[in-house]
């Protein structure tokens, strides 16, 4: 199954086309999505942890739209990159670790949004439990980047 994917005409095009619009563009879009998603999540985490407290918490709510949009972009580009290398990535431990960290990061983002971004009067008091969520988010996204980056060097 993985081999079939990796040998599909799509994979051949993505990997061996000399066009800048094939592999380089998909990879760059994936990097762009990562930078936008993690950048937005980190800013929310830092604010929850007490940095830049002058920023009203609710005004950061719009950043979640950026997070979801960037995730959609990376789900698509990530799937394309996986298909192209399916036989190599499928058995890779780092790959599944990365997906796990991404899942933890996403679930944490959803929980942070539910806990602290439901409107209400400023200044919002951030509870200890919500600060813990911010720490989990910081660690999960950092771990996702680390395992993702290391995929280029293992296997």
């Amino acid at each position: 199954m993985l081999t079939t994917l990796a040998q599909s005409s799509f994979s051949t095009w993505l990997l061996s086309s000399n066009s800048i619009w094939a592999y380089p563009t998909v990879l760059t879009l994936h990097t762009f999505g990562m930078m936008v998603l993690v950048g937005a999540a980190l800013m929310i985490d830092l604010r929850l942890l007490g940095f830049a407290r002058a920023i009203p918490l609710q005004s950061m709510e719009r950043l979640f739209r950026i997070i979801w949009a960037a995730f959609a972009l990376n789900a698509v580009t990530g799937t394309m990159l996986f298909i192209a290398d399916a036989d190599k990535r499928g058995p890779e431990l780092f790959f599944w670790m990365k997906l796990t960290f991404v899942a933890i990061g996403l679930v944490t983002s959803v929980r942070i949004r539910r806990a602290d971004f439901q409107g209400g009067a400023e200044p919002v008091v951030v509870s200890g439990a919500d600060k813990r969520l911010a720490v989990i988010s910081l660690l999960a996204w950092s771990a996702a980047i680390t395992t993702g980056r290391l995929l280029a060097y293992v296997g």
Binding site: P24, S59, W141
Partner: protein, 319 residues
């Protein structure tokens, strides 16, 4: 993609630019000293801005120096020891220059927040600027010895292979190349630093452009040091890449574009830090057109830096 500059162009560029760090730091230091005599805070601010801009301009000086060294390689009458001594002195002074530029920036950022210059930071910049002038003068002196028979009398001053510098580019190169974990670790940190930096740029500039509302500019201004922290991580890890494999970058058109856009983004960041019109911007108000343009250009420039960084292996010839 057409090249921006070939090796000879870069060697020329090095000869043109290499005077900026020496003269610029002396100018910045001079303005700072004058501001003490005249008790003029505005002059102090200008001197910090000059020091930040010179720290920024030193990056292409260092980078083009490596291209100049490659152009000189193997030529008669050129001492590799003299080149190495200059390179090490240049690297040491470059690092000092970046630290000076960082503290100059931090003073400007603090000044914006608390409304006056803080004495501790001002004296830190003063001391660092003095050290930088000394270090960069030494680097310039060693540089002149590479090929100026009129001052060296046809004889090289006879520096050892590692010169007198506290840092050795060759040792850093060996360290990176001999330890297989260094490159992937730096790559990982480079991506984390990029995300941190872009997170800050996104909030500050989307606020200016108008997509994010409900936050005053003064409140998002507090995030700027995190952006510079991200840049610091990427500057250090980026220098590891460059020193370990400079020949991959000096002739790489994607790298040239990356440096050009980075310079512009740096100027943009300085303007963001000291920008008066935006500073007064309350939470609900729309930024003036100049602010919107500033924000939009910062976003385009930083995405451009990421693009050319990611494209190094594809447009250019790195890796």
């Amino acid at each position: 993609m057409p090249t921006l500059a070939n090796q000879a162009d870069l060697a020329h560029l090095h000869l043109l630019l290499n005077h900026f760090p020496t003269i610029g730091t002396i100018l910045g230091l001079g303005l700072l000293l004058l501001s003490f005599i005249r008790r003029n805070d505005h002059l102090k601010k200008v001197s910090f801005e000059v020091l930040f801009l010179i720290a920024l301009a030193t990056l292409p000086v260092y980078v083009s120096g490596n291209a100049a060294a490659e152009a000189l390689k193997g030529q008669a009458g050129i001492s590799q020891d003299a080149i190495n001594a200059h390179n090490d002195a240049a690297l040491g002074s470059f690092i000092l220059m970046e630290i000076t530029g960082f503290f100059a920036w931090l003073s400007l950022w603090r000044m914006r927040r608390v409304g006056r210059l803080t004495t501790g930071l001002t004296y830190t910049v003063l001391i660092l600027a003095v050290l930088t002038v000394a270090a960069v003068s030494e680097a310039a002196l060693f540089g002149g010895d590479i090929r100026h028979p009129e001052i060296a009398g046809g004889q090289y001053a006879g520096f050892g292979p590692s010169g007198a510098s506290f840092i050795s580019a060759a040792a850093i190169k060996d360290y990176v190349l001999q330890h297989p974990y260094v490159w992937p670790t730096c790559e990982t940190l480079h991506f984390l630093g990029m995300s941190l930096m872009f997170g800050v740029l996104m909030i500050v500039n989307l606020r200016l452009v108008g997509w994010l509302r409900g936050m005053s500019f003064a409140s998002v201004h507090r995030l700027l040091p995190f952006g510079l922290m991200g840049f610091g991580i990427n500057f250090i890890t980026g220098m590891f890449f460059f020193i370990a494999a400079s020949e991959q970058y000096t002739q790489n058109v994607a790298f040239h574009w990356k440096v050009v856009l980075l310079m512009l983004a740096g100027v943009n960041y300085l303007v963001l830090t000291v920008y008066d019109e935006a500073w007064a911007l309350p939470a609900s108000a729309e930024a003036p057109m100049s602010g919107k343009l500033l924000g939009a250009s910062a976003l385009v420039l930083s995405i451009g830096v990421m693009y050319f960084g990611r494209m190094l292996p594809f447009i250019g010839n790195a890796f």
